[in-house]
Amino acid sequence: MLSLFFVLFALGLSLIFGIMRVINFAHGEVYMLGAYGVWLFTDILNLNFFLGMVLSMLAVGLLWVILERFILKPFRGNLLPTAIVTLGLLWIFQATMLVTAGSENQSVDFPQILQGTVSLAGATLSQERIFTIVIGVVLTVALLLFLSKTKAGRSMRAATQNPDAARLMGVNIDRVSSLAIGIGCALAAAGGALAGGLFYINPYMGGPQLLTGFVIIIIGGLGSIPGTIVAAFIVGFINSIATTYLGSNYAGMLVFLAAIVVLLVRPKGLLGIEEM
């Protein structure tokens, strides 16, 4: 369950890094904006939850495509400047939400149909959680299919492996970058939207997610989509099991130490493409 949030969150981070060599420090804020988007559409504008989620994903994705065009493009592939610029975006979004929506916790209710529990093979699960899992799996599979079956997806993978060669083969890097950041941020927004339904929404919800997201893409290999998915599950399991048996602080330590060890033993990550 937790792993699926991680998958949705880290996939975007990984896509964006893979294609643009940009580490998005504001990715936690994308997640937060997605959650606030759903809150805006359902609680304030009284729309259907599903419609709200789709609208939120579209709105956040579009916002980031525009931001990428005007702010990130000049620095593409340059580590320190992009880190700084996305840090600036982090501050801007966090403070904007703090001013407009306030610092108190908000929550979004899932629609009536999804409330209640089901028994599945002896375990009782709430329908909300099953719904979250289904959406997570559907989005992940959709992304994998998109990357492997469509022309746009293949050009994205080409750009990840070697941007220069891809450009020589006629791949429009600008368009691919827009697509990558749009999809990546829409996925994170979906993660945020689902989290908004299960937990609370506040302007600082993105922070812990960001650190975990970094660890996941490091373990999985920067820019590798399958690696990211595998690593998200590994981190999710370590986190759940260690939290239950040892406590959340030890879980955090284990996860971060795991990242350092993986980096030292295999610097390109579990399924990484190249070492940079």
């Binding site: 320190l80 600036g88 904007t96 001013v99 970094f214 920067l222 350092i260 980096l263 070492e275 940079m276």
Partner: protein, 344 residues
């Protein structure tokens, strides 16, 4: 011949003195700050600026050699915890403990650097971030480090040369002396052969290695020196606040350090000073606007950061240091080209 020679000597002597005189005047002005700044609120802000300058200068030194560490706040914390533990648990002398705080931070940096500097660029950055996160969790978890509530009752520095510590003004002078020493060391490093080599490693480590530079050694020593000053700053910080909590060394400190370093300009020794002074000036100045909502502060910081990055990627120092050049150029133009009114 004689008068000409003596004239030359006078000129060179005057040049040397003018630089020295300016430095001394600035130092005297700095030492007089407490007579102008009397409110404790502003003095506190000034002290914050001084130890931030130490942190940012250390970070910049490592960055100039291409070591993009995301853990300066962790070494700041190591310094603070070392001092706090030595002084409160073992009743050690404050000055010895503060020195040891710097040494411990530098030693940790040497170990971390030796292990993690095998990784390059973003991998090193994120692994240091992971190191910092582990460290904060350790401080939060173990009661030896005081857990979530941290360590309390850290005493003021011991009196030295009959100078008693405890008042805000005395802390200001301590911070000022530490920051001035830091900047002098940074300046000496920048002008030395060692600093030159660091600046060669920064843009292209492979090229530097091909010319026979021991890149690993230089990177680690730069990282250690930077972290030594971060540790000393941490020791000062612990005593200045009187108590330390793990959350004082979290991600947001790193964000401030990055902000100051980049706004100031990472290619100049004086960049950290410009960055810290200008950004603190802006954030403090904003609070004087009537009906100002402090929540808007980060938005203004963020916008400033992005605009500076897009317009002046080399930071404010690049702008400031190119002003003398422009003036010289402008005056030379005036001398050479007579003013012609083209509009008529």
């Amino acid at each position: 011949m004689r008068p000409v020679q003596s004239g030359l000597k006078v000129i060179t002597a005057r040049r040397f003195n003018s630089k020295l005189v300016i430095t001394i005047v600035i130092l005297i002005l700095l030492f007089l700050i407490p007579t102008f700044v009397t409110s404790s609120y502003h003095l506190r802000i000034t002290i914050n600026m001084l130890y931030m300058i130490m942190l940012v200068a250390g970070f910049r030194l490592a960055l100039s050699a291409g070591v993009f560490s995301m853990a300066p706040q962790a070494f700041f914390g190591i310094g603070a915890y070392t001092l706090a533990l030595l002084v409160t648990r073992l009743n050690w002398n404050w000055w010895l403990s503060a020195l040891l705080a710097g040494v411990v931070a530098a030693a940790c940096a040497a170990i971390v650097g030796r292990i993690l500097l095998r990784l390059k660029g973003i991998f090193f950055a994120i692994s240091t971030l992971a190191f910092a996160s582990v460290l904060i969790l350790i401080w939060k978890t173990f009661s030896f480090f005081g857990g979530h509530s941290g360590i309390f009752g850290i005493p003021d520095p011991d009196p030295i040369f009959g100078f008693e510590f405890g008042s805000l003004v005395s802390y200001f002078y301590l911070a000022l002396v530490l920051a001035v020493i830091t900047m002098l060391v940074m300046y000496r490093i920048e002008k030395s052969r060692y600093g030159f080599t660091l600046r060669c490693i920064g843009p292209n480590a492979d090229l530097a290695r091909s010319t026979g530079v021991n890149v690993m050694l230089y990177s680690i020593t730069a990282f250690c020196i930077g972290c030594f000053f971060a540790g000393i700053a941490g020791a000062f910080f612990a005593s200045f606040l009187g108590s330390i909590q793990p959350h004082a060394f979290e991600f947001n400190v790193l964000m401030l350090i990055l902000l100051y370093a980049v706004i100031g300009g990472v290619y100049s020794v004086w960049g950290p000073i410009y960055g810290v002074v200008i950004m603190t000036g802006i954030t403090t100045g904003l609070t004087y606007i009537p009906n100002y909502d402090p929540k808007i502060g980060p938005i203004i910081l963020g916008v400033t950061l992005i605009v500076v990055m897009m317009r002046f990627p080399n930071g404010i120092s690049f702008l400031l240091e190119s002003i003398p050049g422009w003036l010289r150029k402008a005056s030379r133009k005036k001398e050479n080209e007579p003013y012609v009114n083209t509009s008529s």
